[in-house]
Symmetry: C2
Subunit: 189 residues, 2 copies
Amino acid sequence: MPQVSVKNKLVEHAEDVFRRQGFNGASVQDITKAAGVPKGSFYNHFESKQALAAEIVRRYARSTDFSMLREEGPALERLRRHFAAQADRTRGTGVEFGCLLGTFANDSTTAGDQVQEAVRETLDAWTDAVAEIIAEGQESGEITKSRSAKTLATFLIDSFEGATLRAKTVSDQSVVADQLDIAFEALRP
Amino acid sequence: MPQVSVKNKLVEHAEDVFRRQGFNGASVQDITKAAGVPKGSFYNHFESKQALAAEIVRRYARSTDFSMLREEGPALERLRRHFAAQADRTRGTGVEFGCLLGTFANDSTTAGDQVQEAVRETLDAWTDAVAEIIAEGQESGEITKSRSAKTLATFLIDSFEGATLRAKTVSDQSVVADQLDIAFEALRP
């Protein structure tokens, strides 16, 4: 089934092209070139660059490692391991290219409804997953109850994304470690 | 001097085009069209889109209101007023378009050396300005000395940028207020 193969190639390579060039900076031709497929084949598989980008956002969300959150042990330790894994993931694909979700969040206003919806869904699902563990930490007395679990989860994620954005400008991830240290201290009762 | 006028028009309109479309998504033609000048006139004034973008970043930096930081009163209050003014500025130009500096930071890897340098300089100068007031707060006992003033300034700014990025995806700035509330609490001794 060569058609499936072409589609898979497009999906496989598009993530890297979007990460490096952003949604606005990546053309369909950039993606077909990276995938090594004819430009004309693109529209047999995706109705638009937007449709592919929305799929890439959801694929990125599906491949996010939430396993640390569900392990045994104190909530704060599980949360720290989860965010450390996110920082590792960003380092693995290049600190200078940042977090793919952050890149799409930045471009979401111009990228159209499909991408914007995928970004919102992904951010919401991530926030809910983190909030669930924060709620457990609030129950066990590890984490302050002064704010809702969701507000604190949003604070952690946005702290991570803000620091990852600065890290991108200097190709140095040390600001992310400092940011997370301070943010986690702020969660104490 | 009609040439000066064309240059001013380009600079005046480019900021809004870059804010809405990002560096990668904004073409020279988008900018000349928004400015109402012939496309061919662009290169009489700027050697490249990059050169104009770097000028726009520096212009945005120069027009940032640091006056609240230098007023009388407790350091924490001055810092809060400063960040509230930054949030107001973003609201004034459209929450859905985010912070212009954040947008350029996101695009800086692909935007070339001139833009990257302007973004780094602007982030560094902002961090230094905030750190100066944090150091005053540390001296007066308002702010924790557990970390350097520069590390805490980076934390505040990156908290703001991360929340402003999320606000962009939902066109709702309330996450920025929550983020700043928690971040400022984290500064207490």
